[in-house]
């Protein structure tokens, strides 16, 4: 498999800083709004109404005291009717508040869960479109963590922080208006205390930031260590290395504990500090209010002051709570950044127009496009107002191809290859000579830098990628199986294959016998990448998968390297029968796999140094010959 040295590590550095948190926040909001504009508006309205209802409760305290209680104190026969009426009105307002709050909850749940689904789906479908280079240059663990960690922190942001920000904004502004209406002076006191709160939070919270970064770094360290050690756990066992492994772990674990304790410790005291500043604010307002009352100049009543004390609470509490959440919001935004970075990755471009179609021969001998499974294909080329059908034969040519994965690190030099339809072409050479790279270029996992690759005379850059890949079957050395039954995994080659077709393919690949010995045969569930199967068995399944796809051109990249030679021979015979008349590319380090090829290319350091059939190359007495004789020289 193509390794691009260096690049993985470079990207692994923890990058927690966000340059524009507010811009990122707005992007998240825009994202949510895209699909749920009207629902969000509805939620907003609900929040406003609920806030008003809740405010009505606080304001009522003033009315209750000033209008209904104080005038009636000491009255012989107090009149309860007005109070009853007022309470009924309040009850109606409250009822609306409760109903609206329920609607708000439901709407917000739908928005947050729905947005999460949209984000997950978007991230995934975008990921599927990314070029192979992305996967080769990013550690798989960090791609995975976008789904497991980042989407999860974003969920908290969307489902709790965002609505809370909204709610705070609405509550605070409505409250502020009523506070100003009641008493300007007292409002100033309140605002002053909130500002103090802000400063304290910024000061204390800022100190926490440093520890949070340390915590994240240590966490990454522990995760990395665990990943490496658990992956090598069997080796640890074999070498009795358990104690050392634990020792290394404890060191990192302790570091994490200390930084986590500091970060959490600061976060934990932020809330009580702000809470008690709230109490201070209460006392101050009471004192100032009392002064104003005794002065009698500000037009303040006892009821107003009592109400204001309530308002003061509803004014400062949400702000305080929100500021206590700042850390988690920042963390979520860091996650959002990673999500959007992935969504912003350039997808694989496909400017190809030539498509692959099934054809049959018409009465006049010309090709006609058809939907029947004729077993014959043609390239359909758009020529302005008409189409041209070029029969698909499997003629592949490389003309002067140069390629590099990274700038100035050329991998292939000036490669010329001619594969005529039906030929078996083999690539041999040491690891790193560029064998796999060539196959990566044929199916355009990577694009060439210079030169051209022609497929039946058509430049592959003009062929639609999907169709190009449909025309090529690939079996890789490293086999990947999917959660599902054995049958599902074989059917992956062609989704509409019947059970019979899958079984026939398995028989061709010589996989049938071991599959039948599995507990549930073809219906055996494979989990964990088929963990219970041996390397060789997995390869046989991969070959079955390719066989059921029945492709015009087949690429076998060390496809039988873990299969024993006897089984390999049987597999080869099976494959030869289906690949009759079709082009096959083979990469192998076993001579048995390549010997009967029409043409063998010997690669060294990205160049083809020899080419020819087995006999021709032996006759040449060159590199191939010396390698061949080397195999037998020792005995």
């Amino acid at each position: 498999m193509a390794r691009i040295p260096g690049s993985r590590r470079d990207r692994m550095k923890v990058d927690e800083k966000i340059e524009h948190p507010v811009r990122m926040l707005f992007r998240v909001i825009r994202y949510v709004l895209k699909k749920y504009k009207w629902l969000y508006l509805l939620a907003l309205v609900c929040i406003a109404i609920a806030a008003v209802a809740s405010l009505a409760g606080t304001l009522f305290q003033k009315v209750l005291i000033d209008d209904y209680i104080v005038p009636n104190i000491g009255a012989e026969k107090p009149d309860f009717i007005p109070l009853l009426r007022a309470l009924s009105v309040l009850a109606c307002i409250f009822a609306v508040g409760v109903v609206v709050s329920y609607v708000q909850q439901r709407v917000l749940a739908k928005i947050s869960q729905g947005s999460l689904k949209v984000i997950r789906d978007d991230v995934f479908s975008h990921m599927e479109k990314l070029p192979l280079r992305y996967f080769d240059t990013h550690p798989h663990g960090s791609i995975m963590s976008v789904y497991t960690n980042d989407v999860d922190t974003l969920r908290q942001l969307i489902s709790s922080s965002l609505p809370e920000i909204l709610q705070t904004a609405v509550t605070v502004s409505i409250t502020l208006v009523s506070m100003i209406a009641m008493s300007g002076w007292l409002t100033l006191v309140s605002i002053g205390m909130v500002i103090v709160s802000f400063f304290v939070t910024a000061h204390v919270g800022g100190g926490a930031g440093k520890y949070y970064v340390a915590q994240q770094q240590n966490l990454a360290g522990v995760n990395g260590y665990i990943e490496e050690m658990i992956n090598g756990q069997k080796v640890v066992k074999v070498f009795n290395h358990e104690a050392e492994s634990v020792k290394g772990f404890e060191e990192k674990n302790e570091k994490l504990r200390i930084s986590a304790r500091k970060a959490n410790g600061i976060a934990n005291i932020l809330m009580p500090i702000n809470g008690n500043l709230g109490h201070l604010s209460y006392v101050l307002v009471a004192v100032v209010g009392a002064l104003l009352l005794t002065g009698g100049t500000a037009g303040l009543t006892l009821g107003t002051l009592v109400s204001f004390l309530g308002l003061n609470k509803s004014f400062s509490r949400p702000i305080r709570q929100l500021s206590a959440q700042i850390n988690s919001i920042v963390l979520a935004l860091a996650g959002a950044k990673r999500i959007f970075t992935m969504i912003d990755e350039e997808p694989e471009v496909d400017e190809g127009k030539v498509t692959l179609v099934r054809v049959e021969t018409g009465e006049d001998g010309s090709l006609i496009e058809t939907v029947e499974r004729t077993g014959r294909w043609a390239w359909k080329q758009d020529e302005g107002d008409s189409f041209r059908l070029i029969p698909m034969q499997g003629d592949v040519r490389f003309n002067g191809v140069n390629f590099e994965y990274r700038d100035n690190h050329p991998i292939l030099h000036d490669i010329d290859i001619y594969a005529y339809p039906g030929q078996k072409i083999a690539f041999v050479g040491s690891t790193g000579a560029g064998k796999t790279t060539i196959t990566n270029l044929i199916n355009r996992f990577y694009d060439i830098k210079e030169g051209e690759i022609l497929y039946d005379g058509i430049d592959i850059k003009t062929i639609k990628k999907d169709d190009l890949r449909h025309s090529l079957g690939i079996v890789l050395q490293e086999t990947n199986l999917f959660t599902g039954t054995v049958m599902d995994n074989i059917r992956y080659g062609r989704l509409d294959a019947t059970d019979e077709e899958c079984i026939r393919a398995a028989k061709l690949a010589n996989a049938d016998s071991f599959i039948c010995r599995l507990p549930d045969g073809y219906n055996t569930m494979l989990k964990n990448d088929g963990a219970n199967l041996s390397q060789g068995q997995r390869q046989l399944l991969a070959i079955s998968r390719a066989a059921v796809a029945d492709p015009p051109v087949l690429i076998l990249d060390e496809a039988t390297s873990s299969v024993d030679t006897r089984t390999e021979l049987l597999v080869q015979q099976g494959m030869n029968s289906i690949m009759q008349g079709r082009t096959t590319f083979v990469i192998a380090h076993r001579l048995s796999t390549v010997k009967d090829s029409d043409c063998i290319m010997v690669l060294e350091h990205g160049r083809i140094i020899e080419r020819g059939s087995h006999e021709e190359l032996l006759a040449k007495q060159g590199t191939y010959y010396s390698l061949y004789s080397n195999n037998f020289s020792e005995d």
Partner: protein, 606 residues
């Protein structure tokens, strides 16, 4: 007991057991963990008293002050309130600090306990858990538990205590009104219990769906070449969308019920407000209550609501962490399949190996025998080749020797003693295995080699590398033996990795050396060189060599031919050629078609 009742009982039992196991890891942080709620309660006490002081401030300060123009009472109660606020702050900070220390310490203990437990796992245990799964359990799951623990020690006590204190204060202010409070709280409690019961079941479902979704992503990332080669992007996207749709559906099911809670609480609080207003108005007019007391009552209504909100947050956290807790406990309670014997033998006398009537299966008892009726006698110092088809049981056979797995029936003896009688570390020090799927660790070449023997000198390491034909390419690396190996050995080629692993195994100076297809990525010439060197480097060691190539085993003293989990033949190369059909067939296919093809000195690619 009905069946379903039994089920609930069992799961409650299991949950209790789980929580007990988890809390067992609090250990040295027990003091902090217990003191946290104590300080949290003290903090709540202060917080509850503050509105009462506020009531006095209004009644005696403002109302009276209004009449007599005196600020004394306002200042007096203001100072008391500030003093209480200061105390409350002190308690809160203490509680916060203690909670941070206890929860992070608890998390560190959990990670450590799990990691240590995993070290005791045998191969069978490791097979049961996926690597990815274990990593998530050690990281994400522990973080969840840490947060839940912190929440419960700090917040979970706050909420009920606030409720109780508010109720008491209410009782002090006015008994009759406190009855309304009591009714409201009981009603709220009923709503909560109802929701908890309904939702926790759904949450379990949510987690299953979530896991499935992530498994799908994981598979797609690692199999991206297959996906792209077969143009299955739309298929996979559709599959993913179906899974995320299911997740959405169950999550919404939970959310629908959860959505009842805030309006439910509002309902109660509003009802309280109206009832309190009504009765309070009458009481005040009747002179039984003051306006100040009324404001503090409203204040208590607020704190009741706030504490309930908090309780809700804690509850959501706990439900989510329940699944994490379960996954952690699974790791902690897993019984190692291979156990240390009571009175272990601490010396391996020789490299003799005997298999007596051995049968083995990976999942005991499901009928799928991997090995059956194995009888073998191997003498110390012999070189044994093992050959056979894919899935014939070669690796399983050698894995039994160092007790990587235990036999189902029969026994395996090393040096005349049943392997189950040895102390594990002793046995494994004497039996060196180079696994088929081998890994290197991040660190220098030397550090990796010294896994074999910690105190090996550089010279000894070099000698081992010479024998494993690794010296040449190591010397060509930029820093020679001090060159860094990346995680998993990703910066060396497959062949180089295999040779380093062989060298590492040689450093143990084992009595028995097992090479499980360890030279498959090494070219034939180098392979031959390694085998020759081995004969000189460790002549007295019993060597078992599993290989695909006949050339790798043909000069062994004897060769085992495995077929379908049984020993088909065990003899010399010459005899096998004459008598064994399978062996002859393998030999002929390989000889007629040539052996392997690779660059002779793969070292040059470094």
């Amino acid at each position: 007991m009905t069946k379903s009742a039994l089920l609930i009982y069992n799961s409650a039992e299991r949950q209790r057991d789980m929580i007990k196991t988890l809390l067992g890891q609090v250990k040295q942080y027990k003091k902090s963990a217990i003191l946290t709620p104590v300080f949290a309660v003290l903090e709540v006490l202060m917080e509850t008293l503050i509105p009462y002081m506020a009531a006095l401030l209004i009644d005696e300060g403002i109302e009276v002050g209004l009449a007599y123009g005196s600020m004394d009472a306002i200042i007096k109660y203001g100072v008391i309130m500030l003093g209480m606020a200061f105390l409350s702050l002190t308690f809160a900070i203490t509680a916060g600090r203690l909670a941070a220390s206890a929860s992070t310490g608890f998390a560190a203990n959990l990670r450590s306990a799990m990691f240590r437990k995993i070290q005791t796992y045998s191969f069978a245990n490791i097979d049961r858990f996926s690597t990815g799964g274990l990593i998530t359990r050690l990281t994400t799951d522990v973080t969840n538990i840490q947060q839940a623990f912190q929440m419960s020690t700090r917040m979970a006590v706050r909420a009920p205590v606030t409720l109780i204190f508010s109720l008491i204060m209410c009782f002090v202010i006015n008994r009759r009104i406190s009855l309304i409070f009591l009714g409201a709280i009981v009603f709220l409690g009923m709503i909560l219990v109802f929701v908890v019961k309904k939702v926790s079941k759904i949450f379990a479902e949510v987690f299953i769906k979530y896991d499935e979704l992530n498994t799908g992503v994981q598979e797609n990332i690692s199999a991206i070449r297959v996906v792209k080669a077969y143009v299955r992007e739309p298929f996979e996207t559709e599959k993913f969308q179906k899974a995320s749709g299911l997740l959405y559906k169950v999550s919404m099911k939970a959310e629908k019920i959860m959505a009842l809670i805030p309006p439910g609480m509002m309902l109660v609080v509003y009802a309280l407000t109206i009832l309190v207003s009504w009765f309070a108005a009458r009481f005040i007019m009747g002179g039984e209550m003051t306006t100040g007391e009324l404001t503090s009552l409203f204040s208590y209504i607020m704190s009741v609501m706030m504490s309930l909100m908090m309780l809700l947050g804690v509850f959501a956290m706990l439900v989510m962490s329940l699944a994490s807790g379960k996954r952690i406990v699974e790791v902690l309670q897993e019984e190692p399949a291979v156990k240390e014997p009571e009175n272990p033998v601490i010396e391996v006398k020789s490299g003799d190996i005997v298999f007596e009537n051995v049968s083995f299966s990976y999942r005991a008892g499901d009928g799928g025998r991997t090995l059956s009726d194995i009888d073998l006698q191997i003498k110390s110092g012999e070189t044994i080749g093992i050959i056979g088809g894919t899935g014939s049981g070669k690796s399983s056979l050698v894995n039994l020797i160092s007790r990587l797995y235990d036999v189902d029936e029969g026994c395996v003896k090393v040096g005349g003693v049943d392997v189950r009688g040895y102390e594990l570390s002793v046995l494994r020090d004497s039996v060196s295995v180079v696994l088929q799927k081998n890994v290197l660790f991040s660190g220098t070449v030397l550090e990796n080699l010294r896994w074999g023997r910690e105190d090996a000198t550089e010279e000894e390491c070099r000698r081992a590398c010479l024998a494993a034909a690794a010296d040449e390419f190591i010397c060509k690396m930029p820093d020679g033996y001090n060159s860094r190996i990346e995680q998993g050995g990703s910066n060396v080629s497959g062949g180089q990795r295999q040779r380093l692993c062989i060298a590492r195994a040689l450093l143990k100076s084992p009595k028995i050396l097992v090479l499980d297809d360890s030279t498959s990525a090494v070219d034939t010439a180098t392979d031959a060189k390694i085998r020759r060197a081995m004969r000189e480097y460790i002549p007295g060691t019993t060597k078992l060599i599993i290989a695909q190539r006949i050339s790798s085993v043909k000069d062994a003293d004897r060769i085992i031919v495995m077929d379908d989990g049984r020993v088909n033949a065990f003899d010399t190369h010459e005899n096998l050629l004459k008598t064994n059909e399978i062996y002859r067939e393998i030999y002929e296919t390989q000889m007629s078609m040539g052996g392997d093809f690779d660059q002779p000195a793969a070292g040059r690619e470094a």
